[in-house]
Symmetry: D2
C-alpha cells in the first residue's frame, strides 16, 4: 500500500519500521528532517512538506506529540488537508483532544477525505515488538480499509465507536487507568517504606496477583527510580490528564481520581520531575510521607 | 499433619476442603457449628470450643471476618491461646489490623507458641482452584514449618517480612491497590457512559492492555452490576480501608487515594450498597455524573 | 469625570447607578441595548458600539461575564481598543483569566492606552450598598487616576500588585476561598442532618464564631435552599474555578481543595443545578450522604 | 456556687480564673498538681483526687485534652463518677468523641448524676477575654442550672441539642470548618507566592471581605509562620479530625474535605510540624508547590 507517515518521534520511528518491513511504500515527513534518516535508509521516501507527504497516498498516518503539533501539520497551504487526495484516509495515531478529533473529522469530510483516530496503547518497546493495542474510532468502512495497516502495527485493535473522537476518549481514559495505578503504587510504596519493608517485594506481590506485566514494569521503574530516559514525560502525562479533565467537564462528569493525579503530577513537576518519566508522579505520595 | 481450622466462612470452607483433600488430619471449629457439616462429611473432626480445636494440633489456622471475631476465638479460657500446645503455630489467614497482629505475636510468644500472619489474596473461587496468592509474615523457621500447608492452599507465597504484621500491612495495601482499580473503573465508566459509548468495550480494552484477568473480572462485574451475591461486601471493604488508614496514620503517611476510596465507599453505603459486593464502590462516580 | 461603562448585567447596572449618583458623565453600552434603559433614565448616554462608548472618555469600565464577552467588546474595528483615546484607561471589573489580563495590558500599551484590572468582591446587593471590596492591579499612577471612581463604587480597595493580572489572580483566589467555605458547609450540614440535628443552628454557631455576615448569608441560603434567583450561577462558578486551576497549573501549584470544589460543582451540575446559585455546590456532599 | 474544675491546661487555667473572679467557690484538680498554683493563689482549693474534687460540688467542669484523659479522671474508684453527689452535674468542656459523650451520659444517669457537654470555640486568649463561644448539649433543665457558669466563661452559648453528644458533634464540625479555612489559605498562599505576590496582602483582602477577625488572625499566623508556641498542636488537630471522620463513618457521610485536611495534616506531621500550631497544616500545600 502507498502510505505516508508524519511525525517521527519515539513511537513514529517504530511504527515506520514496521510499515516498511511489511512491504509498504512509505513517504515520511518530520519537522526535523534528520530524524527520518533511519527510515530513509530502510527505503522510505522523504517529503519536504506535510502536503507533499500526503499527496498520492492512500493512507496518511500522523504520530505527533500534541494538538498543536497535529494542527501545524494538518492545516494551512502546506498541510495534510491541502495535499491528501479525495477518498484517502488521515489516520491520527496521536493522543489528542476530543475537540480536535471532532474538528478534523469535519475538516476532512468537507474535502471528501476521511479521518479516523487510531491512538495506541503501549510504550516504544511495545511498538518495536508489535505488542501495541490499537484503539479505533471512525466509520466501519474506513476502518476496514485500514485493517492491514493496523495488523502491521499492533497486536490487536479495539473499536471504540463510529466517531473518531470515541477512540480519543478511550485512549485518554486508558492513560487515566494507568495513572491511577501509578498513584496507588506511589502511596502503597510510601507506607511500605515508612514501615521499613521492601517495596520491590510489594511490587512482586501485586504483579503476581494481577497477573500483569504492566504492573511489574511500572512498579519496578518506580522502586528503582529509573525515570531517565523517559518513556513518556510527566509534562506529557499532565497534558493528557488535562485533555481528559476537559472532556469530562464538557460531559459534566466529576473524576476525583483524575483530579488527584493532576495534583500529584503538579507537585512532582514543582519538585523538578517535569522532563523525566511520568511514573515519577508516584514520588509525590512519598515526599508527602517525609521520604526523599 | 495434624491441623486445626477455625472460622468456616466462604474462604474457610474452601481452605478446609483443600487441606482435607491433601490428606491432613483436620479439626474444625465455627461459632455456628452447622456450617462445618460439609467438612465433617469429608472427614474433619468438629470441636466445640476454639481451645479444644487447637489442642493437640501442630498448626491452627484461623479464617475469620475481622479483629473482633479473631479476638473472640483467641482470647479467654476457651480460646486458642489457652488450648494450643507449646511450639505449635497459630497461622492467621484473616485480614486484620496491624495492631492485633502485633498483639497476637506477643501473646503467643509469651506462652511458648508461635504466631504468623498468612493473609490471602483472591476471592472464594480462586481458593477453590488453588490460585490464591499467600502473603507470609513471621520468623523464617516458623514459615518453613508451614510450607506444606501454604503449598496446599495457594499458588504461590510472598514473604513480606519477619514480623507477622508485615504480612497484614502488605495485605491491606494489596486490597488498596484493587480498590484503586475499582475507583478508576468507576470514573472511566462514568465518562464513557456519559459519552454514550459502551463500557464493556472499554473494559475489554483495558483488560487486554494490562493483560490481567483480574481487571476483566472486576470490570465486567461493574458493567453488569452483578453485585449479589457478594464476593466481599462493601462494609467489609470499608473495614479493610479503615485498617489501612489507621496504619498509615500511625506511620505518618498521607494516602489521598485511600481517602478518596473511603469517601466513595461511604457514598455507596449511603446509597444502599453496604451489603452487596464491594465493586459497587464504583457506582459513586457514576451517581455523581448523574447516572443511575 | 467622563466615564464609559460597558456591560450592564446585575453588577454593571449597580455600578452604573453609583457612578451617575456621584455626578459623573456616563456613556453606556450593552449588547442588548434595552437593558440600558434604567441608566438612560438616570441621565446616561447610550452608545451603539463599544468603540463609540469608549471614544472621548477618560476611563472606560467593563463589567461582563467572561473572557469571550470581554474579547468581543474590546477587539475588532468597533471595539474599545479602536475607540479609546490615548492616555485613557480601560478598567476591567470582570472576573477574567490571568492570560487575558496580560494580553489586554499589552494591547492597550501598544496603543498608548492604559489597562488596569479592578475585579470586585461582593454580590449585587453589596454593590447597591457600596460595600464591594475592590481589588486593584496596575501601575500606581494609573490606579491613582482611578481612585475617585473606586471610592464611588466600593467600600475599600486592596492593591494586589503592579500588573493587572495580579488583581485577577487575587480575585480568583478570593472566589476560591468562598468556594471552600461552601464545600465545608455542605459537608458539615450533611453530617449534622444525618445526626437529625438542625443545620440552621449550626450556621448560627459558625457565623457567630467567625463573626462573619458572609458566613451567615451563604450558610442560610444553603440551609433554606434559596438557589433561585442566583446571585451568581454554578456554571459561572465553575468557569472561575477553571480559570484558577489553569493559572495554578501554569504556576506548577497543586490545589487539591480547588480540585475537590471542581468535582463537587460538576456533580451538582449533573444533578441539575447548573443555572441556579453557586451555593448549590454544597448539595453534592449531601447527596453523597444519601440526603435529598 | 460550689464548683469543681478538673484539668488545668491552657484553657482550664483561663476558665478557672474567670470562675474565681466571678466569686465562685472552686475546687481544682490536675494530674500535675503544680499547675494549680496560680488558681490556688487566687483562692481555689486543691483536691488530691478527681473524686475528692467532685465531692460536695454542684457542678464539676472538666477541661482535658482527649478521650483517654477524660476517662482517666472520670472512671475508677477515685474518679468523678465515684465522687460526684447525686443530682450534681458533670459539664465536659473538652473536645471528645461522640462515643465517649454517649457513654458518659449513660454512666452518670445510672448514678443519678447529670452529664452535659459544653465544648468551647476559641483559643486561650479568647478565653481570657471572655470571648469564647460555648456549645451546649444536654437536657434543658440541666443546661438551665448551668447558665450562670456559661455566662461567666463565654460570650454566648449555642444549644446544639438535647443529647450531650450533639454538642460534641457541633464542636468537631466547627473545628472542621476552621481546618477548611486553613487548607484554603494554604493553597491560596501557595499560588500567590508562586506568582511572586504578597500573601499578607491577600490575607488582608480576604479578611476584609469576610469581615472576620478569625480569618485575619489565622491568616497572619500562617504568613508569618508563627507556629510556636502553639495555640493547639497539629497532633491535637489530627485527633479532632479523626473523631469527626469516625462520627461521619458511623453516620455514613463522606466528608472529602475532612479527608483532604487529614492528609495535609499527616504530610505536615511527616515534615516535622506535629508539635507546633495546627495552622501549620497549611504548609503542606506550599511544600507541594515546591516552596520551602
Amino acid at each position: 500500500m502507498k502510505l505516508a507517515l508524519l511525525g517521527l518521534g519515539k513511537m513514529g520511528i517504530e511504527v515506520g519500521g514496521q510499515l516498511l518491513r511489511a512491504g509498504n511504500a512509505l513517504t515520511v515527513y518530520n519537522r526535523t528532517a534528520a530524524r527520518a534518516q533511519p527510515l530513509v535508509d530502510q527505503g522510505a521516501r522523504l517529503a519536504s512538506t506535510p502536503a507533499q507527504a500526503a499527496a498520492d497516498c492512500e493512507i496518511a498516518l500522523t504520530a505527533v506529540l500534541d494538538d498543536a503539533a497535529l494542527r501545524s501539520i494538518t492545516e494551512g497551504p502546506e498541510g495534510i488537508l491541502a495535499g491528501l487526495p479525495k477518498q484517502a484516509i488521515h489516520a491520527g495515531l496521536s493522543t489528542i483532544s476530543v475537540t480536535l478529533a471532532r474538528e478534523l473529522a469535519n475538516a476532512h469530510a468537507a474535502r471528501g477525505q476521511h479521518y479516523v483516530s487510531i491512538p495506541m496503547l503501549g510504550r516504544p518497546d511495545a511498538a518495536r515488538q508489535r505488542r501495541l493495542v490499537m484503539i479505533a474510532g471512525g466509520e466501519a468502512a474506513t476502518l476496514e480499509r485500514l485493517q492491514p495497516v493496523l495488523e502491521t502495527i499492533g497486536r490487536t485493535t479495539v473499536v471504540a465507536g463510529r466517531e473518531p473522537w470515541h477512540a480519543n476518549l478511550f485512549k485518554l481514559c486508558s492513560n487515566f487507568m494507568i495513572s491511577g495505578v501509578l498513584e496507588a503504587f506511589g502511596e502503597a510504596q510510601a507506607v511500605v517504606r515508612k514501615a521499613s519493608l521492601d517495596p520491590a517485594t510489594f511490587v512482586d506481590l501485586v504483579s503476581e496477583f494481577f497477573g500483569s506485566p504492566i504492573y511489574r514494569n511500572y512498579g519496578n521503574i518506580m522502586v528503582e527510580k529509573r525515570f531517565s530516559p523517559p518513556g513518556g514525560t510527566l509534562a506529557l502525562g499532565l497534558k493528557d490528564n488535562g485533555l481528559l479533565l476537559d472532556a469530562a467537564r464538557e460531559l459534566q462528569t466529576p473524576m476525583p481520581l483524575a483530579s488527584l493525579v493532576r495534583d500529584q503530577m503538579l507537585a512532582a513537576m514543582a519538585a523538578g520531575f517535569a522532563d523525566v518519566d511520568w511514573t515519577s508522579l508516584g514520588t509525590s505520595a512519598q515526599r508527602n510521607a517525609g521520604l526523599s
